[in-house]
């Protein structure tokens, strides 16, 4: 059973704006019947103002596809087309209090249906540049197509390379066999053979560490302050590392605590000392998995 948020369930059991919109003037049909998720988004746009007066949907798809479609229509009603186009797939997922990593593509589909419907209204042709593969890394929701493309574009030759470039495999490491298989396939294509023992070409950051080493160091620092936070009934988790920005999630009593800023400042200081570089720590409220998608 998927771990759906209450918001997802609510939008699935009582979908908003479901069914045909008779006088729609912008329609977007996207999705894939083979993978079992497809969506028709219907917009009624006021030509003078470009404001979306009404939005309806029809979905051939699972619970989260229906919930994502429902959420999307609620989010864009009353917005101008340009405003609506700023809605990202992450916004849809956030609106639903997050989606399981396997289901993030449902929110991507919502965003694409919107682009397609707007293009249809404007008389443009919308081309899809999106290809989706089987999910390989569940920790960071990275699929096979992205991994394969990244290996090809950057001539990668080790699992560590792949982790450095895509984050895939940087978590629980269960997917390393899968990553090795993709490496072996692409490397054979370019006339090399995959050698698991080969020393990885390490991309070194300002701190002189690889991404993985850096993330481990950050985790270690967070681990060292954790007992203190727990004593006050709170906790901290690492959400994402994006260059010099480190996203964390403050939970329990720490979330929204008046001392939160001060606490974070202290942790930031400690991190800078350990990493020997300037970083910025940013608190975030969303779950780690959905946040990781933004990267």
């Amino acid at each position: 059973m998927w771990d759906y948020s209450d918001k997802v369930k609510e939008h699935f059991f009582q979908p908003r704006n479901a069914g045909v919109l008779a006088d729609a003037n912008g329609v977007g049909d996207v999705g894939s019947i083979s993978c079992g998720d497809a969506l028709r988004l219907m917009l009624k746009v006021e030509p003078e103002t470009d404001i979306i007066l009404d939005a309806h949907f029809q979905t051939f798809g699972c619970g989260s596809a229906i919930a994502s479609s429902s959420a999307l229509t609620e989010m864009i009603k009353g917005k101008t087309l340009d405003e609506a186009l700023k809605v990202s797939n992450q916004d849809i997922a956030d609106y639903l209090d997050g989606l399981p990593p396997e289901k993030m593509h449902c929110s991507v589909m919502g965003r694409e249906a919107l682009q397609a419907a707007v293009a249809n209204y404007r008389g443009e042709v919308w081309a899809d540049d999106h290809e989706e593969g089987a999910l390989v890394c569940k920790c960071f929701a990275i699929d096979a197509v992205l991994i394969e493309d990244t290996i090809r574009a950057n001539n990668l030759s080790s699992v560590q390379d792949v982790t450095n470039y895509t984050k895939a495999g940087g978590g629980c490491s269960s997917c390393h066999e899968g990553i090795e298989e993709i490496l072996a396939k692409v490397m054979t294509e370019r006339g090399e053979s995959f050698k698991p023992g080969a020393a990885p070409k390490e991309e070194v950051s300002a701190s002189g560490m690889t991404n993985l080493q850096r993330i481990r160091k950050i985790e270690a620092v967070l681990e060292s302050v954790r007992p203190q936070l727990r004593r006050d009934g709170g906790d901290i988790e690492l959400v994402d590392v994006d260059g010099k920005t480190i996203y964390v999630n403050m939970t329990g009593a720490c979330a929204g605590c008046q001392m939160e800023a001060l606490t974070l400042q202290g942790i930031q200081q400690k991190l800078m000392e350990e990493l020997k570089e300037f970083i910025k720590i940013v608190p975030t409220k969303v779950s780690s998995l959905t946040r990781a998608m933004k990267g």
């Binding site: 979908p15 996207v30 993978c35 497809a38 969506l39 029809q58 699972c62």
Partner: protein
């Protein structure tokens, strides 16, 4: 747990009598059957009894043909790898496109080691072409592995006949019978089946216990090596409690065999007819003429299975689906695809699997609820208009990157 559990091909409830039989072996009878003292001795006798109970259910000639394992998957892996190790000169395997992942994933992995795997195709009703099979049999084939009954549709394969053909070609024959054992009378001593996999939790025994039936005289290479347990054919301290439980469950399955094939089958048929007569654009998948007595797999066109399951769950009804979304994969069930079921129906397949604990009232309730759920979801479907599918569904809705 209250609710209507029609997902017995996924797993079954452990019968209270099975639990009762097991309990003493957690506490008073905790000994290691290998030990010399009396703590171990009684446990050894209990295992012996369980072995005979399973022997009887399978219709095996000798109780030593029963090897206790941890699950159906372990039995499958042990059987295939043993056959390859014992006959290193033979490099081919024959199986089917609709096997359980316990066989298919293993075969894909063996292919990487240079083994050639032949996958037998099925027709629209999930049946094999025995002519195709006969052509593939040769002195290169180490083992044939064909399931007794399909887990999704319940469709039977003619394994007894196929085992004869394999033997004529000098190949070993294995069958994954986890869905059939306990629901179909078996008499293995009169067949040429060399190896057969059983899973305890499919027949009201606990999870974590399985059996590999190994016909006497069949060359065997153990997968797990170490101690002398199971006559050295499966090392590792015995899961005594679960072995005792499986023995009891096997005995009870023997007693219920007629009931399974009459009353459970009648309830299944009533459910199926009830749903099909009320829901337009729905059909049975697999071969309804020749299948397990408890299984009905129904395709509901133009909607998606996970959504159906979530709504069923709201009514306290448990079933399974072949949709991609329920497994997190990108394709619907490989069994549905192998039978050529179109995507618009394959994603909407729902498997109802009953047990001897299913009741008439439960069946009536599901017949009442399902049509409402299907109608509700079809209202959301871009393929559906009003009371029926759009005039030309595939043209009415043809999304980008389909």
């Amino acid at each position: 747990m209250t609710g209507i559990y029609f997902d017995n091909n996924a797993t079954t409830r452990v019968d209270p009598a099975v639990v009762e039989a097991m309990l003493p072996y957690f506490t008073e009878q905790f000994g290691n059957p290998s030990s010399m003292h009396s703590f171990g001795n009684k446990v050894g006798l209990a295992i012996k009894k369980a072995r005979m109970q399973v022997q009887e259910l399978l219709g095996a000639e000798f109780d030593s043909e029963i090897i206790f394992t941890s699950c159906g998957t372990e039995s499958d892996s042990t059987a295939l790898i043993s056959a390859l190790k014992a006959q290193p000169e033979r490099k081919e395997i024959i199986t089917t496109t609709v096997e359980h992942p316990a066989i298919l994933t293993l075969c894909t992995w063996l292919e990487k080691d240079g083994y050639k795997v032949h996958y037998l195709k099925v027709d629209g009703k999930g049946r094999l072409d025995l002519e195709e099979y006969k052509k593939l049999l040769s002195d290169q084939v180490a083992v044939v592995s064909v399931m007794w009954a399909n887990n999704e549709t319940g469709t039977f394969f003619p394994v007894v006949e196929m085992a004869e053909l394999a033997h004529a070609a000098g190949a070993m024959f294995h069958t994954d019978a986890v869905q059939a054992v306990g629901k179909v009378p078996l008499n293995l001593k009169d067949t040429k089946i060399d190896m057969l996999s059983v899973s305890g939790h499919k027949l009201h025994a606990p999870k974590g216990i399985g059996v590999l039936y190994l016909k006497r005289g069949v060359r065997f290479r153990p997968l797990l090596r170490g101690g002398h347990q199971e006559r050295g054919r499966r090392a590792g301290t015995e899961n005594t409690t679960s072995i005792v439980g499986l023995g009891k469950a096997a005995e009870m399955a023997m007693e219920a065999m007629t009931y399974e094939n009459t009353e459970v089958a009648r309830l299944r048929d009533k459910l199926e007819v009830g749903i099909l007569s009320k829901v337009p654009r729905s059909f049975v998948t697999g071969n309804p003429e020749d299948r397990l007595p408890n299984t009905s797999n129904i395709a509901f066109e133009f909607i998606e299975g996970e959504a159906i399951l979530l709504l069923l769950n709201k009514f306290g009804i448990a079933a399974s689906s072949g949709s991609a979304c329920t497994s997190g994969s990108l394709e619907p069930s490989h069994v549905m695809r192998a039978m050529g079921i179109p995507y618009t129906a394959a994603h909407g397949t729902v498997r109802f699997s009953l047990s001897r604990y299913s009741t008439e009232a439960e069946v009536d309730r599901v017949i009442q609820v399902v049509p409402e759920i299907i109608a509700q979801l079809r209202k959301l479907s871009p393929y559906w208009e009003g009371d029926g599918p759009a005039a030309e569904p595939e043209k009415a809705f043809a999304p980008t990157y389909a």
